[in-house]
């Protein structure tokens, strides 16, 4: 993938056309993802991957290296999530073997927590007989996603925006989960995860071990209008990052953009619609965070231009 394609990956969210790396069709190019997978990485099962990127094994420096290599996550809002699901489905429209499947969260399976509900929205590839196999006779797609366990999962139609909105809103309101895109080798997105502290490995890497590249904040922040806010405190209870301060005397809440990851859970639980998502660079002076892989691609492109 070139830098050009990333910067010109456009999609319409909140009535405006936005350019984001995860709207690029290249990020969902499953054929290239599998090609890269077989070339560079020999995956084990999901359990093995999760174990390999855990700070407890070889220390924080090791994990930092893995993250720098392209294993990152970035928070997306509900609207962006719907849009990128649509793009993923459209990109692989002609590929009959491309599947969109909900599986139960691998982080929760390894760390405890409820695994009865399938909340991880995975893009996977139905294996063909001629696909390369590993020693145990499993194909590339199976190798990544098969866990060898009985699990609940269902297939979904990612292009059906209304249904996806319903599903993702349910995850936000009922379970309080944060939508994130996960890459395994930048920029190939393999899942749209719905994450939660303290189970999520990427969140732990950022908040417990101080590796901010592992879990990158989204392009939006929550903003409260004090006229509508009644001070019920629902959003403060739901926020996983402690970004909301409730003033009990004035009956208002304030958000802290430095802590806000831009997931938009507070907005969906607000009974009076007092919270809206605004673009981070428009309301704050904070630098816009980007995954390491994207920065690397930028640098590469700059070097090429300089060489010419």
């Amino acid at each position: 993938m070139c830098e050009e394609c990333m910067n010109h990956a456009l999609a319409t969210v909140y009535g405006e056309e936005k350019s984001r790396w995860y709207f690029s069709p290249h990020a969902y190019d499953h054929e290239s993802f599998l090609a890269q997978l077989d070339k560079d990485i020999e995956y084990g099962s999901q359990y093995e991957i999760i174990n390999a990127i855990n700070p407890g094994k070889y220390g924080v420096e090791w994990v930092r290296k893995v993250v720098q290599g392209g294993r990152t996550a970035q928070v997306v809002t509900l609207e962006e999530a719907i849009e990128l699901l649509r793009i993923a489905a459209e990109t692989n429209k002609e590929d009959e073997d491309f599947l969109c499947v909900n599986v139960s969260c691998i982080c929760k399976r390894t760390r405890g927590g409820d695994i009865s509900e399938p909340v991880c929205m995975t893009f996977l590839h139905r294996p063909k007989p001629e696909d390369p196999q590993d020693r145990e006779g499993r194909h590339a797609g199976q190798r990544v996603f098969k866990t060898g366990e009985q699990e609940t999962f269902y297939m979904y139609d990612a292009a059906d925006s209304d249904k996806m909105r319903e599903l993702l809103l349910d995850f936000e309101k009922r379970l309080g989960l944060v939508h994130t895109v996960f890459t395994m080798g930048f920029p190939y997105i393999i899942t749209l995860c719905n994450c939660e502290m303290p189970y999520c490995h990427s969140m732990r890497q950022r908040f417990l071990y101080g590796i901010p590249e592992a879990f990158v904040e989204g392009y939006y922040v929550a903003s409260v209008s004090n006229d509508k806010c009644t001070g019920c405190g629902e959003c403060q209870q739901q926020c996983q990052f402690g970004a909301i301060k409730l003033d009990r005397k004035l009956n208002t809440v304030t958000t802290m953009p430095t802590r806000c990851m831009g997931c938009g859970i507070c907005r969906s639980v607000c009974p009076t619609d007092a919270i809206e998502m605004v673009e981070r660079k428009k309301v704050t002076l904070l630098p816009v965070a980007e995954p390491v892989g994207l920065q690397k691609l930028r640098k590469k492109a700059m070097k090429k231009e300089g060489g010419k």
């Binding site: 990485i41 084990g44 390999a52 407890g56 070889y58 893995v66 392209g70 390894t110 760390r111």
Partner: protein, 116 residues
């Protein structure tokens, strides 16, 4: 860390999580899960009771080398594929609440405080 990776690369995979090499683990509590724990996938009690999530359900596999690219080449030799076990992967975040010791039906978890 570099030492341990080098050692593993050369094929010496004894002492699977080489935690004693890391500086931060010298001050962490010493948590051990006994051999009696044979069906961690069915039980999951310590996983669920632990608030900071110290424990990890891990495959009984060893890392043999790593590629230049992000992830790790796993060893396929000498392992039973479905064998799982509980490891105390992140003792640095342990709060010493001892809930896991009380909860374990086989009484096979022990916690020792870090040396002063």
């Amino acid at each position: 860390m570099r030492e341990s990776i080098e050692r593993i690369r050369q094929g010496d995979t004894s002492g699977y999580p080489d935690l004693d090499i890391l500086e931060e683990y010298k001050r962490a509590p010493l948590i051990t899960v006994g051999e009696e724990c044979t069906q961690p996938q069915e039980c999951r009690k310590c996983l669920e009771i632990c608030a900071p999530k110290v424990f990890l359900l891990a495959p009984d596999a060893k890392v043999v080398s790593h590629t230049k690219y992000p992830l790790i080449r796993m060893g396929w030799e000498n392992r039973q594929h479905d064998a799982m076990r509980i490891i105390a992967a992140e003792p640095t975040v342990c709060t010493l609440c001892m809930a896991c010791v009380r909860e374990c039906p086989l009484h096979c978890i022990t916690i020792k405080t870090p040396p002063e």
